[in-house]
Structures are given as structure tokens and as C-alpha cells.
């Protein structure tokens, strides 16, 4: 009885037609026929993305109450609020594939769904807020710019909208970094330390190297992904190296060197053991992040019940008034 474990067999003629549409650059919409594997891959990718937006609120939210000026406090709240909006928007996009948000959130809380490994690192100083905007939102832009051309219409459209805000976050983060880098010696030390801590985890955000990325080939064939993890990682490094130099900050990689032939910045070896440990739940903050999400969910249960009880009472009232 392997039938229950694998996706139902799709009609080969329909698959061929679907793949022809993809090859012709058409976008797939919720009501269109799609292979079950495609649907599942999209649900996996989109829900991971949505979860990442939500869990990502925690490390940055950690500094809202300590932001050092009113302007910075306001812009940090607005940024974290944007991320909540991104999560909500992508959850809605995922619902077009026939799953509901409550189910997806349950998977996050169960620990069965993944989210970006980067958010399992702690934010230890105010400078982390600048560096996260610069590196993490910067990496998200590199990813999402190509996802905006993904074959699934709702996902592509979500990415176009979200990317505009991520660009704003990145500019804001880099501006914090530049301010600190031009500040007092304590501020300079603070921002260099943050760069040192966030650089390698940011490179890991693009996922395993292509050699170890089991889903990539299929995702590229169906134009869910348009570039491989390594290609995107390289693009991020190429963009970021000159930005670091412009504010006199050092990236913590002695092997970083410009290769005139490929016109790429080559970089040192990523510690994949660390990456795998974080994915397995053993990063510095995995437990804290999930515990915080579970606490918010559990503490909020009575509020959600109250809201639906009230809505039901209102509906009953309207029905009896109409009768």
C-alpha cells in the first residue's frame, strides 16, 4: 500500500500540457490544473516563507523597546509590522492551494514546518538591527527578485509587492549601519561585531549548495525557482562586498577575493555542519523562537474563541432580525 504515501498519479497528458504552458512562460493560477507534486512543492515553499516572516519578527522585535531614538523606534516597529503583513499575505497566497492558515500555523508550532535558519540566531546589540536589515533583508531581496518571476501567479505577485518593502528595509538597515560605522569608537566596534556574527549565517540563508539541494532540479523545471541556491548566494556576495567597503567594515572571511575572470567575489568555505545543526533544531535560539510562537498562540486562544463566539452571536442576531 504505497499509494497513500506518494502523490496520486497525474494524467501524463495533463502534465505535458502543464509543462508546455510553463515552458511558454505562462503563469499558473489557482483554478488551473497542476500536478500534485507542483502543488505540494509550492505549499512547502510558500508556507516556509510565511513562517520565516513571522518568526523573523522575534529577533528584531527584541530591540523595539530599546531602540535608541524615537525615529529608530518608530521605523523598527514599522518594519516588524511589515513582516507581519508579509506573513499574512503569503499565508493567504498559500490558501489558494487548498490549505488553510490554521493548519500551516499548527505545523510551525509542532516543529514539522521549517522557517529560515537565520532567525535562530540571537540579536545581541542595537547594531544587529542595522546588519539584519542590510544582510537578511538584502538576501531576501536577492531571493525574492527571482521568485517574482515564479510560475505560480499568486506567489509571483506577492513577491513583487513584498520586494518593494524589503528594499526599503534594506536601505534603512544599511543607513543604521553607516551611521554606526561613522559614529563613536564604541559604535564602530558594535557594528563590526554584528557584521562578524551575521555574515556567515546570512550566506547560509540561501540553503544548501546545489550539490546537496534535492528539490532544486524539479523546482527549476517548473519555474518555481528560477536560479539555484549557489547562483543566488554568489549574487548576494557580489552585491554586499562593495557595500561593506563603502562603510569601512570588514567581512569576516580571509578568503574573500575578486576573480577577474568570472567577475565574482570568491569566498571561503561555509560551515555546513553549523547549518545542519541549526536546521535540526540545535541553533542558538531555535527553542526560544518556537517557545515564543507557542506562547503567543496558547495565550491568545481565549481571545480567538471570544472573537468567534461574538461573531456567531452577531450572525444569530442578524438572522433573527431578518426573520
Amino acid at each position: 500500500m504505497t499509494q497513500t504515501r506518494t502523490a496520486p498519479q497525474d494524467d501524463p497528458a495533463k502534465v505535458a500540457e502543464f509543462e508546455a504552458r510553463i515552458a511558454a512562460g505562462q503563469s499558473i493560477e489557482p483554478k488551473d490544473w497542476m500536478p500534485e507534486r507542483y502543488r505540494r512543492q509550492l505549499i512547502r515553499m510558500m508556507s516556509q516563507h510565511a513562517h520565516s516572516e513571522i518568526v523573523g519578527m522575534l529577533p528584531e522585535g527584541n530591540w523595539i523597546t530599546r531602540a535608541p531614538s524615537l525615529r529608530r523606534k518608530i521605523s523598527l516597529i514599522a518594519k516588524v509590522q511589515d513582516e507581519a503583513g508579509h506573513g499574512l499575505y503569503i499565508y493567504c497566497g498559500t490558501e489558494t492551494l487548498g490549505v488553510d492558515r490554521a493548519e500551516l500555523i499548527q505545523q510551525l508550532l509542532d516543529g514539522t514546518a521549517k522557517y529560515s535558519s537565520i532567525f535562530n540566531y540571537p540579536t545581541l546589540s542595537w547594531a544587529d538591527i542595522g546588519v539584519i536589515g542590510w544582510f537578511v533583508d538584502g538576501a531576501a531581496i536577492v531571493n525574492q527578485t527571482v521568485l517574482a518571476k515564479a510560475s505560480y501567479g499568486p506567489y509571483a505577485r506577492a513577491m513583487i509587492r513584498i520586494c518593494k518593502e524589503e528594499n526599503f528595509h534594506k536601505r534603512q538597515g544599511y543607513e543604521i549601519v553607516a551611521t554606526l560605522a561613522n559614529g563613536t569608537s564604541a559604535q564602530k566596534a558594535m557594528v563590526q561585531d554584528a557584521v562578524n556574527r551575521w555574515w556567515w549565517p546570512s550566506l547560509m540563508m540561501f540553503g544548501p549548495s546545489d550539490a546537496n539541494s534535492p528539490n532544486t532540479a524539479e523546482l527549476i523545471k517548473w519555474k518555481v525557482k528560477r536560479r539555484t541556491n549557489d547562483e543566488l548566494r554568489q549574487r548576494f556576495v557580489n552585491l554586499t562586498v562593495p557595500q561593506a567597503a563603502a562603510v569601512n567594515l570588514t567581512l569576516p572571511d580571509p578568503d574573500l577575493a575578486y576573480d577577474t575572470e568570472s567577475e565574482n567575489w570568491s569566498f571561503g568555505r561555509i560551515d555546513w555542519d553549523e547549518f545542519n545543526q541549526v536546521l535540526r533544531g540545535n541553533g542558538p535560539c531555535n527553542r526560544e523562537r518556537l517557545a515564543a510562537r507557542r506562547k503567543a498562540h496558547d495565550d491568545g486562544a481565549w481571545v480567538r474563541e471570544a472573537a468567534s463566539a461574538y461573531a456567531a452571536k452577531q450572525r444569530a442576531k442578524q438572522a433573527s432580525e431578518a426573520a
Binding site: M57, G61, L70, A84, W126, D299, K313
Partner: protein, 265 residues
């Protein structure tokens, strides 16, 4: 022998206007800060967004009010100097806004009582004889009207939701009621400002506030706490006599700024 003065009475000391700006500004700074503590921890994603919106509005209002306070004071302090470099005893917010968040019912009841207060007082201040103040209040009033709709709807949902939500929000209302007389207590500063048409006539606004609160509380199937639950001496916020909570809030808020004197952010 002193002849009766032929000149009009002197305008209120700039100190009174400064006090008013600090009272209005600090209420919003402290409550905005409290609301921002929810960010990432709300019962539903939509509420993370909504609470952040209210926090952003309040902090935006606080920025304008404290900036103006610095100008009126004339000692070169800007909004950040006032927010980050004053001690708790120098803050002029009411006690209501500095109370810790508690559960969602407590936060919403605190917010509702404040939002109604904000609407009635800002409406009055928007007609102030002081043009700068009137302009800031008019802008803030528009926002406060959205806020009270949001917190008022939650009072209905929680009050008329489940037994548990009813019990929690009624408990919150009972607990917070003792902080409401302070909102309308007029000391000498407030009385002078009201007489000059600069500040709100607080005691006169109380009845309207009470009526608006009562209307929602009744529709939410809740009961207004009895006036005897007022604690008469809980009215020191405007004079810097705060609860112990404010010092902890400020310690957190000010730590980075104060660790780096003279730094720019």
C-alpha cells in the same frame, strides 16, 4: 501705592505650556512603548499589525509633542533628549498608561479608557488658542478616532464573547478604574491653561467621557465599576509621582541611548 495696571494680564508662563506638552507627549510615549511590547506576541497576526499601528500613531504624536516641548522650553533639548534623558520623576504621564500590559483584555481595557480620554481631550485641544498645539491635536484626533473604534470593538468582542473573555475584561476594567479620576483632575497648571483657553477644561470633560465609556461598556454586557473603587490619592503622575512600573519601563527604553552619551543614531 500701586496703581491698577493698564496692561492686560500676563500670558501664562511658558512653563505651563511646557507642562501641557509634556503631559500630552508622555502619555503617548509611554502607552506607545507599552503597545510595542506586544509586537510579535499578539493573539492573532491581524492584531500584531493593529497594535503596531496604534503604537506607531502614538509614538508619532509623542514625537511632535515632545519636539514642541523642547522648543517651548528653549534649552536646546529635542524630542530624544526629553524621551531618553529624563528620570522617571520628570515624566508627566498619567498612571493609567504606565501599567504593565497584563493579558490582552487588560491591554484593551487600558487602551479603551485612554482612547476615549484622548478623543475628548484632543477635541478640546484642537480648539486651543495656541495655534501650534491646536494643529498637533487636530491631527492626533483623527488617529484617536480610529483607535477608539478598534479598542471599543474589542471591548464588545471580549465582553460579549465567551464567559472567560467576559470575566477577564470585567476584571481588567475593575482593576483599571482606580486610575481614571486622575485623568480629569485639574491642578493649578491645568486650571490656568483651561482659563486661558490653551488647555482642556478637564473636570468639565469628565461627564462626556463617562457617557461614551458607559455606552460601550453597557453594549459589551459589562458593568462599570462603582465610584467607591476609586483610590483618591492615585493622581500623582502629572507631578512625577509614578508607580514603580515606570522606572523599569524607562530603564529598558533608555539603556542604549544612555550607554553612549553624545552618540548619534
Amino acid at each position: 501705592m500701586t496703581a491698577p495696571s493698564v496692561l492686560p494680564p500676563p500670558p501664562p508662563a511658558p512653563h505651563d505650556e511646557l507642562e501641557l506638552l509634556l503631559r500630552l507627549g508622555d502619555d503617548r510615549l509611554v502607552l506607545g512603548h507599552r503597545l510595542s511590547e506586544w509586537c510579535g506576541h499578539a493573539p492573532i497576526l491581524e492584531e500584531d499589525i493593529a497594535l503596531a499601528n496604534v503604537a506607531l500613531d502614538l509614538l508619532g504624536q509623542a514625537t511632535m509633542l515632545l519636539r514642541r516641548a523642547g522648543e517651548v522650553e528653549g534649552k536646546g533639548r529635542d524630542e530624544d533628549a526629553l524621551a531618553y534623558w529624563r528620570e522617571a520623576v520628570e515624566f508627566r504621564n498619567c498612571l493609567l498608561v504606565e501599567q504593565p500590559n497584563g493579558d490582552f483584555a487588560f491591554t484593551m481595557a487600558r487602551q479603551f479608557l485612554f482612547d476615549v480620554y484622548a478623543v475628548v481631550t484632543l477635541d478640546a485641544v484642537s480648539r486651543s488658542t495656541n495655534a501650534e498645539l491646536a494643529a498637533i491635536a487636530a491631527k492626533a484626533l483623527k488617529e484617536a478616532k480610529y483607535h477608539v473604534r478598534h479598542s471599543g470593538e474589542w471591548m464588545l468582542k471580549l465582553g460579549d464573547g465567551t464567559d472567560e473573555s467576559h470575566r477577564r475584561v470585567q476584571g481588567a476594567l475593575d482593576e483599571l478604574w482606580r486610575f481614571t479620576p486622575e485623568l480629569f483632575a485639574a491642578d493649578d497648571v491645568a486650571a490656568r491653561l483651561a482659563a486661558e483657553g490653551i488647555g482642556p477644561d478637564l473636570p468639565a470633560l469628565r461627564a462626556h467621557w463617562h457617557e461614551l465609556v458607559h455606552d460601550v461598556v453597557e453594549r459589551a454586557t459589562l458593568t462599570l465599576p462603582h465610584e467607591s473603587s476609586h483610590t483618591p490619592h492615585l493622581n500623582g503622575g502629572r507631578a512625577g509621582m509614578h508607580s514603580e512600573h515606570l522606572g523599569h519601563l524607562l530603564a529598558e527604553m533608555q539603556i542604549v541611548a544612555r550607554s553612549h552619551p553624545g552618540a548619534k543614531w
